[in-house]
Symmetry: C2
């Protein structure tokens, strides 16, 4: 029955690991998966991408991580650990007040990644990517940002390592969030609303549809185009790819250490899924144990009903960007031509999904659920008022399902332990809260016809 002294330990409101307890390794899920995800392939040759194929776009060590299928643990370099210590470990919080509000026998915990200025988990990978760029002698990075967290995180990381940064920001986000731009600029980053006339890809999209509100896929095309033009410049991506998910496993590693320290045994782990890295990072070491038959945890990925890649997408090879310039990824996708309705708030707007998360879903290791945004903001407001923290719209998708599961526990009289990822704060996403408060928020569920239009852009491979 384990260590009784552990069982007796009172669980504090916030569990903080010490710096010494911080994980020194990322967790590489691919090394433990029974079947590997299909490899990234080159769109021209349809052969698996090699390091040489990717070298003009990405930094060298990140490519090695991307292609690594053998090492279960990958060491976090000491210089990077020192940066992590500025904003980590993040707390695992016992949601005592939310439990009381819901009158549930369930124990609810959330891993809170919003304590740094970028406001989200994104800084975990931004820090790593800037570190490896610096090590390689790269002096300029380009990237895209949707809701803005990733752009802010990269700006913080580039400020720390002294690297120039250009951020292509999805136009609708740039308009909804002028202050995100101000933060990125305070950290020295340059912000360009996308699509822009600074790239071929942007000009092409603008010519086709001058009034487009933009998309992550389109911003990616622009950022990659700029990176390819110079040998001292590389592109960095905030989600979807395996190396990004790898960096985010520090979330799951810390969570697992905290659970072991206090003998917490999760029954359900829930995360929101945009590109999948926050969710994948949170579940990684727990999922590894499940694959090894060591636990029977239910994993739930939650996405917006307006951009339902897991629940309504196709599992197929697709481009990562609207410009159709990237390698092909085997993933659940709505098609790179899919553009979510602008009435959808915040992030989780991406057409595809992490190949690792996609494969786990396809093989039945996890569940997926879609939720409508008015229900999400209802949960967000209840959470803010009870737990104090104003959550990001994205994270509130996970919160919504955590609350639903806790309510189910009340109805069934079951005492389950639920952990969800509170991946960030909503401090820079207040226009969506303004809409919700004023009663003008609407829900959007694409029709089958809407989805067919997106699917038509998926290449025949």
């Amino acid at each position: 029955m384990g260590n009784t002294s552990k069982v007796m330990k009172k669980i504090p409101y916030k569990i903080y690991l010490t710096e010494e307890e911080m994980p020194k390794y990322w967790y590489n899920l691919k090394a433990v998966m029974k079947e590997l995800p299909d490899p990234m392939i080159h769109p021209a040759t349809l052969k698996p991408c090699t390091s040489e194929d990717l070298a003009p776009i990405f930094c060298r060590e990140l490519i090695e991580q991307e292609l690594n299928t053998t090492d279960q643990y990958i060491e976090i370099p000491q210089e990077l650990l020192d940066f992590y210590k500025m904003f980590r470990p993040s707390p695992l919080v016992r949601a005592y007040c939310l439990e009381k509000l819901l009158d549930t026998p369930a124990e609810i915990y959330y891993k809170f990644e919003g304590t740094n200025t970028s406001g989200s988990h994104k800084l975990n990978s931004a820090a790593a990517q800037a570190y490896y760029a610096k090590k390689q002698g790269i002096i300029h990075l380009t990237t895209e940002t949707g809701a803005g967290q990733w752009g802010t995180a990269m700006a913080m990381a580039c400020a720390y390592y002294g690297i120039d940064l250009t951020v292509y920001m999805v136009k609708v986000s740039a308009q909804q969030k002028p202050y995100r731009k101000a933060v990125i600029e305070t950290y020295g980053g340059k912000v360009i609303p996308s699509p822009s006339d600074t790239t071929e890809a942007g000009r092409k999209i603008l010519a086709r549809d001058p009034s487009t509100t933009g998309s992550l896929g389109c911003a990616i095309s622009e950022a990659i185009e700029v990176a390819l033009k110079s040998n001292n410049c590389r592109y960095v991506l905030g989600s979807v790819l395996d190396h990004v998910l790898l960096h985010q496993t520090i979330i799951g590693q810390e969570t697992k250490t905290a659970c072991e320290k206090y003998d917490i045994k999760p029954d359900i782990i829930i995360g929101c899924t945009g590109g999948g890295s926050n969710y994948g990072g949170l579940i990684a070491p727990f999922m590894g144990d499940k694959i090894a038959g060591k636990n029977d945890i239910r994993f739930i990925g939650v996405e917006p009903a307006s951009c339902p890649s897991l629940t309504r997408g196709k599992y197929a090879y697709d481009f990562g960007d609207t410009g159709q310039t990237t390698p092909l990824l085997k993933m659940y996708t709505l098609g790179s031509g899919f553009i979510p309705s602008p009435n959808h708030a915040g992030g989780l707007r991406y057409h595809g999904m992490s190949p690792i998360v996609s494969k786990l879903y396809h093989d039945g290791y996890m569940e997926a659920r879609s939720v409508e945004q008015s229900k999400v903001f209802e949960a967000a407001t209840a959470f803010a008022r009870s737990e104090g923290i104003l959550p990001a719209p994205e994270s509130s998708h996970a919160l919504r399902v955590a609350m639903d599961e806790a309510i189910l526990c009340r109805e069934k009289g079951e005492k389950k332990t639920i952990i969800f990822g509170l991946s960030g704060t909503g401090y820079f996403d207040l226009s969506a809260y303004v809409n919700y408060n004023s009663g003008t928020m609407t829900d959007y569920i694409p029709s089958d016809e809407d989805l067919e239009k997106g699917f038509a852009s998926i290449p025949k491979v």
Copy 2:
């Protein structure tokens, strides 16, 4: 030479106390001061205010705390400690990266109060005031807010305890910070830009100057007027008064415990001074020891050159509000008629200063310094890029002087230990950063003639 095992302990980036180590008592400076501040007096009788005088405005137990001059330690109720545990303890951070940037032999620490959603220390007193209101059966609270932190903090506290809240928000802040309003509303608070036509005081000020950008003093008049109209309603104030400073001593209590745990011996402690409660709370237990002859710490209160109550004000009895309705406080003041230039960013706009801080300054226990805002934002940007956190404009006043002192240490080759209060984040104050980034920020120093106009409003007592 003390305990060697303590001296050897490596100082982590962030010192977090455990929940068990959290202080269970506030520190009442008045119980240890050699001379007490002159008492609050009634403007009609010029006699010291009694509990009965104050009871229609403030909650009962808060008045007891306000008038308590004898108990050095005042117990924090368990139900309030439970609320504190949701957002405290706050970290004492070693500014390793800032030290490196400044190439200084000084050790720099900051007590960071910005990890909660209100973004500042204000929640410490908001939580306490809402708790005592609830206990007394009060169902409606009114208050004012300048930069917005206090209004947000009160909204969070009132959401927690289920109390209605009306916030009079200084008009210029309401205009500069639309999203602050959104946050307050998400927590269920009602926001009214001040001066407004909802009160006698507001209508009077508007009649005199319809284009006024408002002031804290004016918003206070409005909030008190509403509170006085109902027996179930009371007024709460976010700074200046002794009971507010008392609640903020949890900052200093935690800081002192952390210093003792790691054998940190501060030479200089620095805080920004608006109404004085954040600064007073940070220094309290250290100042108590200084008064008792147990240390020789230098204490520095930092204020904006545009609103220089300590450095250029008069030490006199004055009203707390522009409407001249409050009891008279003996304090450093620019006169309740003083309205700082609207080009001044964020908080620290108040005409007066905490009577306790004023007395300590008057009696020579501390220093005061004023700084110009362009220098403040220069420091804020350097701090953001090196330490990661985007600081509040207010807190950056303390940061500016901490950096100046650390630079002095470099020039003189002195290894001093500096602690400053990073009282909050700048996430909701980005318009000032936009100004600074675009090079349009200007400084303002009132002329002696400007000050004379304010002094003319100080009553002859």
